[in-house]
């Protein structure tokens, strides 16, 4: 079987999306009592679409991905719906859940050295999904993964099969992880900070491999990253997350050129620009985690445009000009946020309020 053949499936948003998450809420037990880590996540991934989930650490990105795999920590409380091609992931039987994990969805992790069993060969890891779950004969599985290794840029795949993970560099091993994810021909790939542990050139190659897999195989991809530029380059759409909530969803270019949420603007301002030797600016204040925020907007404490309403009432994600944003003042701030990328956050903005009371 030649898996390198590009599939003809094109992105098709008319039918049921590959993944639909609606008003997801997750609480996990911290010292015995449940603490919220995800407040409100609504997100769809179309078939063949690449979506970037962007936010700082602790914003609940990884937790969202884990919820999608139904791999939350023991004792987690989940509200809201997580659907894969219309089927509720929360309702799956143990057998169905294993089948779903085995062949519908695959995850690529940040640290391949920790996430691949160090005592088994690379070949064992690559064919495990095929041989153990899908019961493909070992020889056939090996042929398939060697071809996939070529596709991810490892030419001498056959030799690599008998090596151990510690004998491979991080970049090589991350390609192995991608090949392993592709081997079971899933519909959706979740990539959780797949390039964070890699050097810059390797980062670009890995992203290119993912992008190619998406286009050639009609894969849906959820790319989780804190790197806005990377997400913009690799994805069709971006979702910005803060403190357990999705605060803005837009296409990559739209977000960068005209952010609608103050936090998105802050993230844009904070990113380092190549060739500009300015002092790195950050979003003022400390990033909050899900269990720290009160009743109001999750970003209220750090927002330069905060009002009474922001503190008392949580804004919902709503549509605005073909995009989605969760901000009470999105219409007012439209266009005003743009210069933030060049000036100090909050300067010259209309209706600057005092400290939130």
């Amino acid at each position: 079987m030649n898996t390198l053949e590009p599939t003809t499936t094109l992105p098709d948003t008319a039918v049921e999306p590959a993944v639909a998450i609606e008003h997801l809420q997750v609480r996990i037990p911290v010292d015995g009592s449940p603490a919220p880590v995800i407040h409100d996540v609504t997100l769809t991934i179309g078939r063949g679409e690449a979506v970037g989930l962007v936010g700082e650490s602790g914003s609940g990105k990884s937790m969202t991905a884990r919820a999608l795999m139904r791999m939350l920590p023991d004792g987690a409380e989940v509200h809201g719906a997580i659907r894969f091609e219309g089927e509720d992931v929360q309702e799956m039987s143990p057998r169905r859940l294993r089948a779903y994990r085995a062949s519908s969805i695959a995850m690529i992790y940040q640290n391949p050295h920790a996430h691949i069993n160090p005592l088994r060969t690379v070949g064992d890891f690559l064919v495990e999904g095929l041989c153990q779950v899908q019961k493909v004969p070992r020889r056939e599985a090996e042929q398939k993964v060697v071809a996939l290794l070529v596709a991810v840029g490892i030419a001498d795949g056959a030799r690599r099969l008998s090596q151990y993970p510690h004998e491979l560099s991080g970049g090589l091993l991350q390609r192995v992880m991608i090949a392993a994810a592709l081997a079971t021909e899933p519909d959706v790939i979740l990539a959780d900070e797949p390039t964070t542990a890699l050097d810059v050139t390797t980062q670009e190659e890995v992203i290119a491999i993912l992008r190619e897999a998406q286009v050639q195989r009609g894969l849906s991809i959820l790319l989780i990253t804190h790197d806005l530029d990377l997400a913009g380059a690799a994805c069709d759409r971006l979702a910005v997350m803060y403190a357990g909530q999705v605060v803005e969803v837009a296409d990559g270019a739209g977000l960068v050129e005209r952010p609608l949420h103050p936090y998105s603007a802050g993230l844009l301002a904070a990113r380092p620009e190549i060739g500009v030797r300015a002092r790195l600016r950050t979003v003022p204040g400390r990033p909050a985690s899900g269990f720290e925020v009160g009743d109001g907007c999750v970003f209220a404490e750090r927002c330069a445009f905060v009002t009474e309403q922001c503190v008392s009432e949580r804004p919902q994600l709503r549509s605005l000009e073909g995009r989605q944003v969760a901000c009470h003042r999105a219409e007012e701030l439209d266009g005003v946020l743009l210069p933030l990328a060049d000036g100090p956050v909050g300067a010259d903005a209309p209706g600057q309020d005092k400290e939130p009371s």
């Binding site: 160090p118 153990q132 510690h166």
Partner: protein
């Protein structure tokens, strides 16, 4: 392969040092074997004649190398008490002790690791193990032996109180069951505790998350990603166990009147039979060091990182 060689050479050096220590120690054993053999009413010249015949008049270092050379070639010398070759005396007893120790090792490995697996996968089993094992870990071998004899040999009559290792494999195994259990109980508890902790630790590792995310069954995950990964501390503790079992079998052989190497060692010490004591302690040292080396080699076989050649880009 270099690390294997290093291990083996280290072991040989240790054995050599131990042999010198044992030989030197035995020179301190009180009593003059020549005088004893010559008899109480022998004259000084007769004793001297015996001494010459036995080669005991030669310098100690020559006798040491003589003895060591003999040991290496399987000649363990002559027992002066029994007037027989030590090897002849040891052979039948070696079989009984070997059976007992292997039986006990098997029990420790199978039951200990088995309980560890169950406890790592089941919360209720785990808390039961915590309570039960803390009692058994401290249980002295001879106390266990007495309790087992009282309950299973005398009250219930299921097993013999005096082990008979003579006729037939089945009856030997049957009569060695209580001794093996007495010998292994505290080690089973220890191995169960260690393996539970080790498997638990592996279950929390990232690579297990990866396996869960791939839709493997719990059994497959445990077999492929937990057992072998958690094996290193278990191998160490089992190698320690085998050393402990050798010492413990001296006690158990006394408890069940087994005519094994341990009982023979005690007997020979009380009779000042230096040749036998040297041979047996030397054997114990060799077995002991061999177990340690084998354990190290197993660790090498388990973990490819220990025999690594570095990153290959």
């Amino acid at each position: 392969m270099r690390s294997v060689l290093k291990n083996v050479i280290g072991a040989l050096v240790t054995i050599l040092v131990a042999s010198a220590v044992i030989f030197a120690a035995m020179q301190l054993v009180p009593g003059d074997p020549a005088a004893e053999i010559a008899g109480t009413d022998a004259t000084a010249t007769e004793v001297e004649q015996v001494r010459q015949n036995l080669g005991l008049d030669r310098p100690a270092w020559i006798r040491y190398f003589d003895w060591l050379g003999g040991f290496v070639t399987g000649d363990f010398g002559q027992s002066l008490q029994h007037r027989q070759s030590v090897l002849t005396l040891l052979k039948p007893r070696l079989g009984a002790t070997l059976m007992l120790d292997l039986y006990a090792t098997l029990l420790v490995a199978v039951v200990g690791i088995g309980l560890g697996v169950l406890a790592a996968r089941n919360r209720r089993m785990s808390s039961t193990l915590t309570v039960v094992s803390s009692v058994f870990v401290g249980l002295p071998t001879f106390v266990a032996a007495i309790f087992l004899i009282q309950v299973f040999a005398i009250s219930l009559g299921w097993f013999p109180a005096l082990a008979d290792t003579g006729d037939g494999l089945a009856s030997t195994i049957h009569s060695l069951t209580l001794p093996a259990i007495a010998l292994s109980l505290s080690w089973i508890a220890l191995v169960a505790q260690i393996s539970r902790a080790s498997f638990r630790e592996q279950l929390g590792r990232e690579h297990v998350q990866t396996a869960v995310g791939r839709g493997l069954t719990k059994n497959a995950i445990f077999r492929r990603h937990v057992m072998r990964n958690g094996a290193a501390p278990i191998v160490s503790v089992i190698s320690l166990t085998m050393g402990g079992l050798i010492a413990g079998s001296v006690v158990v052989e006394r408890a069940f009147s087994i005519d094994g190497v341990g009982a023979f060692l005690v007997q020979s010490i009380l009779r000042h039979d230096a040749e036998v004591v040297m041979a047996i302690t030397m054997l114990i040292v060799v077995v002991f060091i061999a177990v340690t080396v084998i354990a190290d080699l197993i660790q090498l076989a388990i973990d490819p990182r220990l025999r690594s050649r570095g990153v290959d880009r």
